[in-house]
């Protein structure tokens, strides 16, 4: 290298270093600001959660007693009464939705991961599945109304379960597919090497290894649909009676909370909080269970690899 370029290089080195020194303080300050911003965001997000939990527990406990959990709602404006039908209704509708949605979702997921490959059709199914996950639940309610309520002629458990299962299917199939995908191929190949037919491998080897992951998906979607309100308005309608049959309206917790909260009476509002406490416990218990399941699955997968 000639002396000239060397001189030039030394000049550059100095220039760059000067600029950096000038910038160092500013960069530090910006860095601090960003860090503080990030921490502030976390605090901002945690405040509402804490407040929600505190309020729900504080106000909900006041309403809790045996009659509240098992009793029927009293007439509007009258104190007392319970959310028995709502609890029962939620369990029935969500249970029925799971019975419809989970098998369909799981089968779709297995189809997509094990049999479909990467053609345009399965990719299309995958894509629309994902889009469906993001559709507003109220639209699913409308679909349930048009297809079931109008056909059967009355608001019904069927319609509610159908709408909720529409929400559930894409979630379950997505999780199923993802879980099966991460099962190492060597397990499958071991099966093939033994000359086992593909359907048997899928059922007894792949599915068995993936079962906890799939369960996670199912629980996740149950937690999700148990809290849905909007689609229930136009499908199961809500009632203050206990379950009378699959073709008639039932109540559900979210619906009951909504109705209670819109009444101007304090007793109703207390009951709304009580119902909220029950619902939040239901959902959080499911979520925490899900978390534990997911963790176990993590360990299981690690052990396999």
């Amino acid at each position: 290298m000639s002396e000239n370029t060397e001189k030039q290089e030394r000049f550059h080195r100095r220039e760059v270093q000067r600029a950096m020194v000038k910038n160092a303080r500013k960069a530090k300050i910006i860095d601090k600001i960003v860090s503080i911003f990030a921490i502030a965001c976390v605090i901002l997000a945690v405040i509402p959660l804490t407040s929600i939990l505190i309020e729900v527990i504080k106000n909900g406990i006041a309403a809790f007693n045996w009659d509240f959990i098992t009793g029927r709602p009293s007439a509007i404006g009258r104190a007392g009464g319970g959310i028995g039908p709502a609890i029962q209704g939620t369990l029935i509708v969500v249970g029925l939705a799971t019975m419809i949605g989970a098998p369909i979702g799981i089968l779709t997921g297995i189809y997509l991961s094990e049999f479909a490959g990467n053609g345009p059709f399965p990719n299309g199914v995958r894509f629309f599945n994902e889009v469906m996950t993001g559709l507003p639940s109220v639209v699913m309610g409308i679909v349930g109304y048009i297809l079931i309520v109008l056909t059967l002629g009355s608001f019904s458990v069927w319609a509610g379960a159908f709408s909720l299962s529409l929400i559930m299917i894409p979630i379950v199939s997505r999780v199923t597919e993802e879980t099966i995908k991460i099962i190492p191929n060597s397990i499958r190949e071991a099966g093939h090497a033994l000359g086992i037919p593909k359907w048997k491998i899928t059922l007894f080897i792949t599915f068995k290894s993936a079962i906890s992951g799939i369960l996670t998906g199912v629980v996740l979607s149950i937690a999700r649909i148990a809290g849905e309100t909007a689609p229930l308005i136009m499908t199961i309608l809500g009632t203050s009676l206990f379950f009378t049959g699959f073709n008639s309206p039932v109540d559900a917790l979210p619906l009951r909370i909504w109705r209670l909260s819109s009444q101007p009476y304090e007793s109703a509002q207390t009951q709304a909080w009580g119902a909220a406490l029950f619902l939040i416990m239901l959902v959080l218990v499911l979520s925490v269970a899900l978390r534990l399941l997911a963790q176990r699955r993590g360990f299981a997968v690690k052990a396999e690899i």
């Binding site: 990030a38 965001c41 976390v42 309020e55 993001g134 559709l135 507003p136 639209v139 136009m234 509002q269």
Partner: protein
């Protein structure tokens, strides 16, 4: 299945579109009285978009901040339980957000934010209305609280996908943490973060019960927001409010028509979001799902 959904909603909405035509989208009247029926969806489209826009304006930066904190700053000891808490927040049903907003949070908003804004800044048209707490502004804020867990958990996953070699490249050039984020992480994750935001937007637009409880439920031309503190109405909330009381088939069809608009809106947003997220995962070598 999606086709089934689209077909069902389309069929239900057909009568109102044939009755009102394009007027259904641009009209502002909402009259269900027999013989003088007239339905226009414009105020509710505006209400939906405005409340979602507020939710995004508040929710996206905060979500980003949380995701940055969890992936880039916090030690494992803090970040793991924190992600857990944020995920719990995502699991809380919207009806509970609604209940909390209706009985607790709206008073905070009214007294701590809206009142001062109104008293000191009412010369700005946005703020020129006596705040009541049940309005588009509150709805937007509560929506933002609801979508923060969703956006931040997806963003967190996306930031995790950014390979460490990228961060190290920036650090080795003497970048600060922010410099690294700006140079190596954000460009890499840009489309993914955008996609995550759009998914959040999809949720905000479609959210029904929460909005119904706090947006103020105005009807007809009055539902066109003139200030941030006006009572409004979104597409979804109007459906929830009137579905069981629909006076006529046409009224019902109008509500389903709102659903059709909502479906279309959210489908566009969702498809856009998915394409962006998958483009990021595919386009960048070394990027994995």
């Amino acid at each position: 299945m999606l086709i089934l959904v689209a077909f069902a909603v389309g069929e239900g909405a057909l009568p109102i579109f044939s009755q009102e035509g394009f007027q259904f989208i641009t009209g502002t009247d909402w009259n269900a009285v027999y013989g003088r029926e007239s339905f226009g969806a414009l105020p509710y489209i505006i209400g939906t978009l405005l409340s979602s826009a507020i939710a995004m304006a508040i929710g996206v930066p905060i979500s980003l901040g949380i995701a940055i904190f969890v992936t880039e700053m916090a030690p494992h000891r803090i970040s793991t339980p924190l992600s857990f808490v944020v995920e719990l927040l995502a699991a809380v049903p919207s009806i509970i957000y609604g209940l909390w907003a209706l009985f607790v949070f709206r008073f905070w908003i009214r007294d701590l934010i809206e009142r001062p804004l109104y008293e000191h800044l009412s010369w700005i048209p946005f703020f020129d209305k006596t705040p009541f707490g049940l309005d588009i502004f509150t709805a937007g804020i509560v929506l933002s609280i609801m979508i923060i867990p969703i956006i931040s958990s997806i963003t967190r996953e996306i930031l995790r996908v950014v390979p460490n070699s990228q961060r190290e490249a920036a650090y080795s050039l003497g970048a600060t943490r922010w410099g690294t984020l700006r140079t190596a992480v954000f460009p890499y994750a840009r489309s993914g973060i955008l996609g995550a935001s759009f998914l959040g937007l999809g949720r905000a637009i479609g959210e029904t019960i929460l909005v119904t409880m706090i947006i103020g439920n105005a009807i007809g031309p009055a539902a066109i927001p003139t200030t941030l503190f006006s009572q409004g109405q979104s597409l979804a909330s109007l459906i929830a409010n009137e579905f069981n009381e629909a006076a006529s088939d046409l009224h019902l069809s109008a509500l389903i028509g709102l659903g059709a608009i909502l479906l279309l809106l959210s489908m566009v947003i969702n498809i856009g979001a998915r394409l962006m997220v998958s483009r990021m995962v595919k386009a960048v070598p070394g990027g994995r799902e």
